[in-house]
Symmetry: C2
Subunit: 364 residues, 2 copies
């Protein structure tokens, strides 16, 4: 990966390998196509217009986003089909913005409560185009979402409020885990919960043509005929967590933080100029430290402050000297991308582009 | 704290109580004055020109920052005395920017290695104004910094490289701890290490007029005659970590995240529309969850995703209903501030100002 970095790079910086990125994007698109799934990648992981465009060109039918303002950012970038995969609670401001979005793009929004469905219906009353809603289902992650059997009631209220109910969705966050068993179990939970919820919609006389699941760990693990849409996010770049749980290899890592060695306090210890304000602080139980160094796979990032990463090298391993530039793969890619104003794009040691993180900080 | 929030606030948002902020600023300024310490607050915690101005007006002689670009942001905001409290490794770009900064402001920079001191001297050769350097000392946190006895050698090399050596500094990060004992021990470590390092400079015939220590937990715990400058950062706002380790009370919390209840999946559970992209993911061993809810002090934020906080309420506690707006105090304030484009300033339910986070994302 070091050959990726241009000479004279100012660190810290996030650097993308566009060849690996393209391979990750086309591989997911191809897998979706061959198994008959619609693909609606989650744009929260990259937040860049240039990457959205590549996903759509590769065959994605639209994008998923997490917030109204993230939808606005991608609508401005020209994406015309957006699913806010979140149970939006529209205040007056968000209601106005949702109506404007519905005028500009094919808009889909999540609901997960009777009150939320009524409120969303009120917010979107009078919008020029119908807004499609999907009922969120809790498939075992226990965050938001209704139990499958309650999907019918929520869907009914949404339909009564003037919304067009088209299906169900879930986030199988419990699919993150060290063992492949966790991913398999979560994929089964998704299939079962989404299947029951879709049936509950149909029993209420509603449409359930979209059955949407999937984060990067569980995609492609379902039987045909149930789940019919994928919403993976992280796969474009992958990260140290995906590497640790085995959903990608080192060759699939498309984004690194470039960092300079600013201190060598001991033969087995170096300090880098990247910290939590570049890498993020996310650390799942399945990763060993605060990031992964591809050139020094036995090294561990044992300490992370805002602008310091302390790296411990195994005894006897020759480490990089003061002033060397090394690369660090973040634990969870969605956080560092959201901290950066731009991603540098480099190929064979040449800086070939700079992509603005157009949807950075779009939290409302 | 709820009375702070204006009606119709769009969530999530970071909201500052300017009265509490002003009290925190003047209290620290007064304590420094009365004990004879110079005060050079760390601006990384707030990154706002308006707060820098308040700190300087209250008596701070200058500010501390962590990076060259953070210094540039505050120089643009009119701050004319800046200490980059970091062992900067100047590449060609940083060298050019440091020279420009040295033309515009009274600039002080950290060094902690012989090679770094030489390189900094080369970088600043020919700058119009002399740049002062401080040698960083490891007082027990084991991040960057030399052992006290090595300060003389690094200082000598810096002086030979044309830099003006003026003293020593340290970050006593090991002062974070549940018990007051940890803070006391770290304060003693600071005094001893800085004292020995200052003596090492003097033994080398160098000046050691600045003896700079202190993060929020250890300030004011030193004996007179040793440490003579403070660099606390978090004290302007405080946070759930400072509350947990006992360096502030609830009444000293000057910044909250305003969040809407978007889901009530069970009587003892609510989900808020703030997640790690608003609150940050930092979690020290001394805090119970991912944030503190002042209106529901017995509640625990048990789960945090990018746009969801799952909050568990003790059995039988009436929780806020769907659509309610509540406040969450972040675990570590420096991270959420760096995620936001602006801070809302509210008094008695009125929005009175918006402060741009001018130094957001200044990592290089």
């Amino acid at each position: 990966m070091t050959t990726l970095l241009p000479e004279g790079l100012v660190t810290p910086a996030l650097v993308v390998d566009p060849d690996v990125l393209d391979r990750n994007i086309s591989r997911m698109a191809e897998a979706s196509r061959s198994h008959g799934f619609a693909l609606r990648p989650h744009a929260k992981s990259h937040k860049c217009a240039e990457i959205a465009e590549r996903q759509l060109r590769a065959g994605a039918g639209g994008l998923s986003v997490a917030t109204v303002s993230e939808a606005e950012a991608f609508a401005r970038a020209g994406v015309d089909d957006l699913f806010i995969a979140y149970p939006v609670w529209p205040d007056a401001d968000k209601a106005r913005r949702l109506r404007r979005l519905a005028d500009d793009v094919a808009l889909h929004v999540g609901v997960e409560s009777v009150e939320g469905a009524r409120r969303l219906g009120d917010a979107l009353r009078g919008s020029a185009r119908p807004v499609e809603v999907l009922v969120e289902v809790d498939s075992g992650n226990h965050r938001t979402g209704v139990l499958p059997e309650a999907a019918g009631e929520v869907g009914q209220v949404a339909a009564d409020a003037g919304l067009e109910v088209v299906g169900v969705f879930t986030f199988p966050g419990h699919g993150y885990g060290h063992d492949a068993g966790a991913r398999e179990r979560a994929a089964r939970d998704e299939e079962r919960s989404l299947g029951e919820a879709a049936q509950a919609l149909r029993d209420a006389g509603l449409d359930a043509r979209v059955v949407s699941g999937g984060s990067t760990p569980t995609v492609g693990r379902w039987q045909p005929g149930g789940v019919n849409e994928l919403r993976p996010g992280v796969y474009v770049f992958n990260d140290a967590t995906q590497l640790a749980i085995g959903t990608c290899g080192v060759e699939d890592l498309a984004l690194v933080a470039a960092a300079t060695v600013i201190s060598v306090p001991a033969p087995d210890r170096i300090v880098l100029d990247v910290g939590s304000k570049v890498l993020g602080s996310d650390r799942s139980p399945w990763v060993t430290g605060h990031g992964y160094l591809p050139e020094f796979p036995e090294a561990t990032v044992t300490g992370l402050w805002e602008h310091h990463a302390v790296v411990r090298l195994p005894d006897g391993t020759p480490g990089p000297g003061l002033g060397s530039v090394v690369t660090v793969v973040p634990n969870h890619i969605c956080t560092p991308v959201n901290l950066a104003d731009e991603l540098l794009v480099a190929k064979d040691g040449e800086l070939v582009d700079r992509w603005r993180v157009a949807a950075r900080g779009t939290n409302t």
